[in-house]
Every structure is written in structure tokens, then in C-alpha cells.
Chain length 284, copies 2
């Protein structure tokens, strides 16, 4: 099987490593427009060849679109257009984006819609680029299949096989539900980390040694603030409505804490912390 990977960053690059190593891909064709990243990806052996977008789509059996979601929304119809021109009906494209509603909407009425499988492998780190790619990134994590009833059964089965090779646990979900859920358990975490980083960095301008006191708890809470704007600007705008709704709930919770602390209401602070502690039952 020839696998084309468009975008050899953390996700695309890590997929390329394991699909080749584990025998799913006989050959990996990579597309990477950034020249520095492209050179690095070749040196690191993430792809066997770096080719153009069109050569990748024409030359691969499965195309993996692993670019930021704004780019993917514009790219996906073009991939399916080329499939349509070729007319052999056997090729497959999948995406790996973190929001799914606009992605599935962008090709909903495309005549080749069945050849597309919308997925979200829920794995990653706060780092990005080919330098961040690593083996075994996906092992044991969940992979969402969004609106899988709109994909041809054979295309779906092949992509399920691909994620099985990556040791991922499949979860099937409506694209809109996916975007609500990820706003809560992923997108808001990034925004709170960004805001925390901004808060402390602002103070650092006056207090140079403030980070001497930063403990493991602070590092853990602010870790996601290292995440790249290339990835996160499109996620936050594409999932705008859900994200705004979660931010508003979050702001309400912060204000409850603020009011309780402001009025020295120890019983109220204690109650809020006890409620928050229920997260113990959920996190391992």
C-alpha cells in the first residue's frame, strides 16, 4: 500500500513512522510545503519521497490529510476532485483534524464523499513540526470516527485497519457532538493554559524572578500554552460557538471562586473544591 501524508508534522510524521515500521505502508509519499520542515522530514526518514500535492494524491492508495483544520477544509474537496477525475473508485482520503463539523460539511455533497473518512486520532503533545514526530504516539489512545455512515463501507474498513495498526481504540460519533465534546475536554484546556501563561508573563515584566518559585503544579497547568498558533487559531475559529459556550461556563465558575474568596466565605470555597475534587473519579 502506498500512503500519502500531506503535512509531515507531529501527527502526520508520527503516523508515517508507525505505518511504515509496522508494515501497513510499503511506501510513504510526503507533502510538506515548508522547505525547512520538508528537508528535516526527509532527513528523519518520515517519508520516502517529498512530492507535490497533486503527485501525492495521484500516486497514493490512501491519502492522510494532516494539516491545520482551516487548510484541510479547503484541501479536502480538491483531493476528492482528483479522485473523481481518476474515476477508479478505490482510493481513500482521511483527515486527522481536531474539529469535525466544518470538515464533513465541506464535502457533504461531493460526488466522491464516500471515499473520505473523517477521523480524529486523540493523541499529541504540545510540540509541533517534523521534529516532534515520534514512534508509538497513538498506542492505546482513542480515535474518533465522525459521521462514518457517510463513508463507503470498504473505505471505512480500510481506515479502521490503519488505526488498528496504530493501536488506537475506535469511537464512533456524530461530527457536531465531537466538536461539543472536544470543546470541553481539549479546547478549553488550551485556552486556560494560554491565559495563565499570559497572566504570569505579564507579571514577570516587573518581577524577574517570579519563575524561581514555579512548581511542578504550575508547569503541568501551563504546559499546553506551548502549543502552536498554526494549529490552534483554526481550531478555535472553526469551533467558535462551542468554544464560546464553554468559555462562558468557565468564566462563571471562576467568578464563583472569586466571589467566595472575596467575601472570605470558607464554606463556599470548600464546597466548590469538593465538587471539583470529583474529577478524581474520572482521571486515572
Amino acid at each position: 500500500m502506498i500512503v500519502g501524508v500531506i503535512g509531515l508534522g507531529l501527527i502526520g510524521g508520527s503516523m508515517a513512522i508507525d505505518l511504515k515500521r509496522r508494515g501497513f505502508a510499503d511506501k510513504v509519499l510526503g507533502v510538506e510545503n515548508d522547505p525547512v520542515a520538508s528537508t528535516a522530514a526527509l532527513k528523519m526518514g518520515l517519508a520516502d519521497e517529498i512530492v507535490t500535492f497533486e503527485d501525492c494524491v495521484r500516486g497514493s492508495d490512501i491519502v492522510v490529510v494532516a494539516v491545520p483544520v482551516g487548510t484541510a477544509v479547503r484541501m479536502l474537496p480538491k483531493v476528492l476532485d482528483i479522485f473523481g477525475e481518476e474515476g477508479n473508485g478505490t482510493k481513500i482520503v482521511l483527515d486527522t483534524c481536531s474539529t469535525k463539523s466544518q470538515i464533513v460539511r465541506s464535502v457533504h455533497y461531493h460526488p466522491q464523499r464516500g471515499r473520505f473518512v473523517a477521523t480524529h486520532p486523540m493523541a499529541g503533545t504540545e510540540y509541533s513540526g517534523p521534529w516532534a514526530a515520534m514512534p508509538n504516539l497513538f498506542d492505546g489512545r482513542a480515535c474518533i470516527f465522525a459521521n462514518s455512515e457517510d463513508s463507503d463501507p470498504q473505505a471505512l474498513k480500510t481506515v479502521e485497519g490503519l488505526y488498528d495498526i496504530l493501536n488506537m481504540r475506535p469511537i464512533y460519533m456524530n461530527a457536531d457532538n465531537h466538536d461539543v465534546h472536544t470543546a470541553y475536554v481539549s479546547h478549553i484546556s488550551h485556552i486556560t493554559s494560554f491565559a495563565l501563561a499570559l497572566t504570569v508573563l505579564e507579571k514577570e515584566q516587573d518581577e524577574k524572578h517570579i519563575f524561581d518559585l514555579a512548581s511542578g503544579g504550575f508547569s503541568s497547568t501551563v504546559r499546553l500554552a506551548k502549543s502552536s498558533s498554526d494549529m490552534w487559531v483554526p481550531i478555535l475559529t472553526q469551533n467558535r460557538d462551542n468554544v464560546l459556550h464553554v468559555i462562558d461556563t468557565y468564566l462563571d465558575k471562576m467568578k464563583e471562586f472569586r466571589d467566595a474568596i472575596s467575601s472570605f466565605d470558607e464554606a463556599r470555597i470548600e464546597k466548590l473544591i469538593h465538587e471539583a475534587n470529583r474529577i478524581k473519579k474520572i482521571l486515572r
Copy 2:
């Protein structure tokens, strides 16, 4: 040296383990009012004996006050009162609390003030109680000495030796500055985690499977929400003014994100994320 440890939780218990193991303490006298915790602490060997508060203070060369800060503020003058009654002038008490202004204020005019060393060993986990105590907890971390000029030089030197045995790096600081700094790099992180946990737990009431999608990033950001109210209620009320100030800055940053996302202002979101990314330079 006989070391008395009042409060055999995460911090007191972990100190007891390493001070005994590394030969600083010949004997550890423990005080633990909670009967379940007290039995566990004895079984785990955190202390050689469990004694009363008064027997601990009278029987120890160094007393470690490792209880929540609200309790410590009331307890510390009583320890110094007993030192005064004994009148030998060689005994030392230190506290390990996460806020320092009210602690130092509570004994500022006490005739035995010199026998007290105010410290904050910056180590810990989100767990609490004797069950959370562990060896090597403090190795390589920072320990704040607050207003150390108010301690007798011999008392200070002995406590510096104690933390040296624990492999901690000393930082000397004014108590008020300490409380400003920790509001930024520790207290706000806990509040943002509590608020995040409350936000997602509220949604979970309708969406039972929301945590299926929780990734490593979410776990990292929400980890501190497991922290105990016994410890955090007094920290947040004692450090109220600083904490409120930081919450307000943080709320402003969240609102900047909200506005930028709400108006699809990609350039503004990108700028905010780039600013937040500067945290990379600070975190290892």
C-alpha cells in the same frame, strides 16, 4: 536530634521519612489528630511515636509545623509560649506553609520570635494525607526562607542544615513578596484547575461519555483539581488580596481570548498565542 512533626500529611510525613533515613533525626515524634491518619502514619513508620501537641513541643529539639496555614497561625504562638516557659533558648520551630505573611505576623512581637524560622518547601503533589508521603519529595526543589532576618542566626543555620539534608535549594525572600509570587505561580494554577474541573463535570451530567475524549493535555491541566480543601481553603483566604488581583488579571486575559474568538479575529488570536508561547523559554 529529636524532631517533632506536627501534621503527618504529604509534607510533614515526607519530611519525617527523609530526615530519619538520612540521619538528621535520631527520633521523630509525631502529632496527628485525625485517628485514621494517625494509625496509618504509625503503621507506615512516619513517626517513632505519636504524642500530644504539648509532649511533642516539650520533647523535641526542632518542631516542624506542617498543618494547614489557618491552623498554623493559631498554633505557632502556642509553640513559642511553651519554649518561653521552658526558657532554655535552644529549641527551634519551623513551619512549612504555602502563605507566609499572616504566619510571620502572628508571632512578630512574640518574645521567642527568634526561635522561629518561616519556610516554604516548594514541593508537593495533588495528593494529601500520610498515604501521600514519600521519600525524596524535596530533592532538587526550592525552599523559601521568609523574613529570615527575624530568626536567631543559630536557629536559621540549623534549619538551613535541615533543608540541605533534604537537598533543597534555599531562596531568601520577604514574606509579602513570597505571597505575591506564589499567588502567580501556584495559587492561580489551582483555581484555574478547580474551575476547569467544575466546568467539565457540569457538562458531564448531560453527556456521560464526555471523558472518553479526554486527552493527556486535559489531564495535565486539570490535575491540580484533585487538591484538598483542607489545604487550599486557608491558603486562598489568607492570601485573599493577592489572589483576587491575579484572578482579575487572568479574567481579563480570558476575556481577550473570548473577544478575539467571538469576532473571528484570527490575527488577534495568533498574537495572543504567540505571546503565551513565550512560556517555552521559562519552562524546561
